[in-house]
Symmetry: D2
């Protein structure tokens, strides 16, 4: 894909924001490849995301950052400029279930997801072989009932070493301690195997089966200290019926879990997701 | 549609049930037009529904009932024989929002739903004109804050007079008293404008908007004394995004509410739904 | 809904278009309520749609038109300014099947679709009663095999009298002559009961049943002289199986036909659809 | 999963078929775990599929076959008894695109699909590493423009050696010669990246983009001599819009291709698919 600079910007809404940004880009000759805008009516917050063709600008990303900062100085906004020419890193955390991991590895191997998987961290050894066949380091860190704190410390150290743009909980079955939720805020994505806010917590397919629902779902969300309550990135559902046992639901659910997680991860890596309070704007 | 006898049957599972029923039907020369079976693995309960061509039998529905009773006498089951040649009656309860009512009336007018709408009961007068244009009696019963008991008594009387096979709460915004839930058990269908069990109770689209979900849903269920907790008949969802305001959600949601309610009502009238505990088998 | 001016604009892509439009709107104090942009990579054509709060401007729609014309004079574009404060008119053409008509009438009656239905034109009398109950003129124009030309002339006259913003073929089963396709270009919407380009022409559900597809669809498109080949506005599908007869498909299909047509009509009336060659941009 | 005998049976419809089969199973003490029936109204052909718990029978699969043959001797039917205790074999054919292959390998590795992948055959070497990491033989057979016949001969020999229950064309980009279609009839499954019958043949996403459709699809079907015209097993679609380029469609389409192919393969291996003319009954 051709190199692009992705500008994401948010500020209190007022007249002239788009004019300011668009005029700035026009003056420096930037070709806007994709643009999206949104104003949250409840909070009066304005959001935009703009993709600019890198080769249309006569300077580099750092120069764009400093010029853009000057251009929007009066708008009280927060912003980021992502350079798609700089390869991004992701760490994946798993347990025993491999469907989400295999799915992401396949997407990376085929070039669909342009990202480096810096490490796979697992509390079980089961998924080592395929991970390593993809040339990716696999770290098995056991989580004994009485030693979770130490295990998480080791995880935190490993993650810190690679400083990833995304930490993906790909059916990692341990609950993150609050300090890691906070340290990884806005970078840690989880896939929960229910249509949140239904069926928070453990064994959601068992809960769904007991309630007799006719659709099961999966939710990709940012991790926050409150379990399964973080900003929702994407969701999807699949139909089930009276003939579907819990194992059938588990099997059918996997197909939406992996697709929803992959979409969420892709959008995150492309800076398509702007978090606002406990909600997301997905451009 | 050609006349059919619809047999629904449930009993504790054991070997030979299908053989018993199928042999009985073969002996009397019954042509099975459609058949479905299910055994609930958790409770060991067996369910079946069979549609028999009425003109393949040399006797009428009552004779079928008495012969069938004898045939399955040893199976400790419960059963019903529906004669599709006997026109069924339905009562619809509404408030101000007409989308579900209009949808049902359109299906009846076109012959899609072969049922008599015996009455529409409403706590507001808004939907009288179109109802009456369809030639259906419209009963406006106000529900003042201090007089709901009397209003429900009047509703109960009206319903009792027509003895309907289905009472459809088509966005009727009042909570049924427990004694009516009990009196109408298995006949009262509600459409709830959320993907249950998410967002029980009032203003589910507001709740959905606040949580930032990416799909909204609708659920058709049998009414029970516990609010929005009855056996689920059908559910569906539609995608929403950050750009959808609450009124947008209300509007988009209507399109699934009416479809889900119509499907549920159709299945109910065709005896396709077998309730078992708090769950449904939908054949 | 608060009054808005909806600007739609298309021109050959170049640097500075957004800046030009946004700066113009900022200078006159316009509050942009919603904005979308797209550039077609194949043809290099730029599209935008902007909703401006009417009460944020110190002048009326005509003044906006003349100022906007001046502002974009150098861009070689085509544009339109829709004033949502001016009520729009629609003519609906039907045959015997009422599901799409009833659906639209219900949406208008509830205020969901803010439009005047100026007339319903039908080649059969079946749908007169309900149409007239909504207070809408119903014109029955028979289409005898040997007199279609005269019938279409009468239709054309009726349509011309109301000069509608949309002519909706809501399961009207006659093929429009080329001269009407041309006269009504960009205003005539059809709902075709298949997932185009599959099953063009007559009896698409029969074709679908014969091919053994597992999903059936509906397509809303602008009418052009080539049958079922105009620019697609929206499509949707619903699952079918081996147990579904042709009448089952017809019934299930209706539920997507009416939803897809209603979405298309709504987008058309809100100027959300920009036609470009034989494709649509839907903002 | 507990061992089961899966009986599939088809014959001209008549009264007493279900009674015959159910009585036979009741007499030998067979516990029916799942049962489905269908009669094709156009051809008057009856179909059934029954899963019997193996440990409920006092004899083995061969004895069941011989007794069942006697029981249904008078019905002019065709039937099969599948023993799920006998592990099945599959051969996968691929080109360069790995998403379907990786998906199937992941399902096999996790135990979701209980099958042996006997071989992967490819006309390009790209997918060797991951295949071999799963412990599966990878055969690279080049298909030069002038030597396809020889290449197919080699493929045919490899396939014959493993005598697989399914040959899966997982985005294998070569057209099978008629004699292989015939030799593999009922065992060769293809995934076509369109919603058939739309966009038969090469580059369906390009065709879809050109037509401006709003949904793209994938179709799993049995391979027959006429290209992309065999009996459809399953289909699904995903929404696209004006912003989706052809590469976007290719990427989004992959997510449905792999799910639809996996469903089709699973159903095929479980003998859930009964082919009748050019259509399928999927139980």
């Amino acid at each position: 894909m051709p190199r692009r600079y992705v500008i994401t910007f948010g500020c209190p809404d007022r007249i002239g924001i788009v004019a300011t940004i668009a005029s700035f880009l026009a003056e420096v000759g930037g070709t806007i490849v994709e643009a999206a805008y949104h104003t949250d009516q409840d909070t009066g917050w304005f959001f935009t995301r703009q993709e600019v063709a890198a080769d249309s600008l006569p300077f580099d990303a750092d120069e764009l950052r400093s010029r853009f900062a000057a251009a929007v100085a009066g708008l009280d906004g927060t912003w980021q400029v992502l350079d798609t020419g700089v390869r991004r890193r992701v760490v994946i955390m798993v347990s025993k279930e491999g469907h989400c991991l295999y799915d992401i590895l396949g997407r990376v191997a085929s070039g669909e997801l342009e990202v480096d998987v810096a490490a796979v961290i697992a509390n079980h050894p089961d998924l080592a072989t395929i991970t390593e066949a993809h040339g990716i380091p696999f770290h098995h860190i056991p989580f004994p009932a009485e030693g979770k704190e130490a295990a998480f410390a080791e995880v935190a150290k490993l993650v810190a070493e690679t400083d990833p743009h995304a930490i993906v909980l790909a059916r990692f079955m341990q609950i993150l301690p609050a300090h890691l939720c906070s340290e990884w805020a806005g970078r840690a994505l989880n896939i929960h195997h229910s249509f949140l806010p239904s069926f928070v917590g453990a064994k959601p397919y068992h809960q769904a089966h007991r309630r007799g629902v006719k659709l099961i779902g999966a939710t990709c969300h940012y991790v926050t200290a409150e379990l399964d309550a973080g900003p929702i990135i994407d969701q999807d559902v699949i139909r089930v019926g009276h003939g579907d046992s819990i194992p059938d639901m588990v099997r059918k659910g996997r197909d939406i879990e992996k697709v929803v997680l992959a979409r969420g991860l892709r959008w995150h890596l492309e800076n398509r997701i702007l978090v606002h309070g406990n909600k997301t704007v997905v451009f």
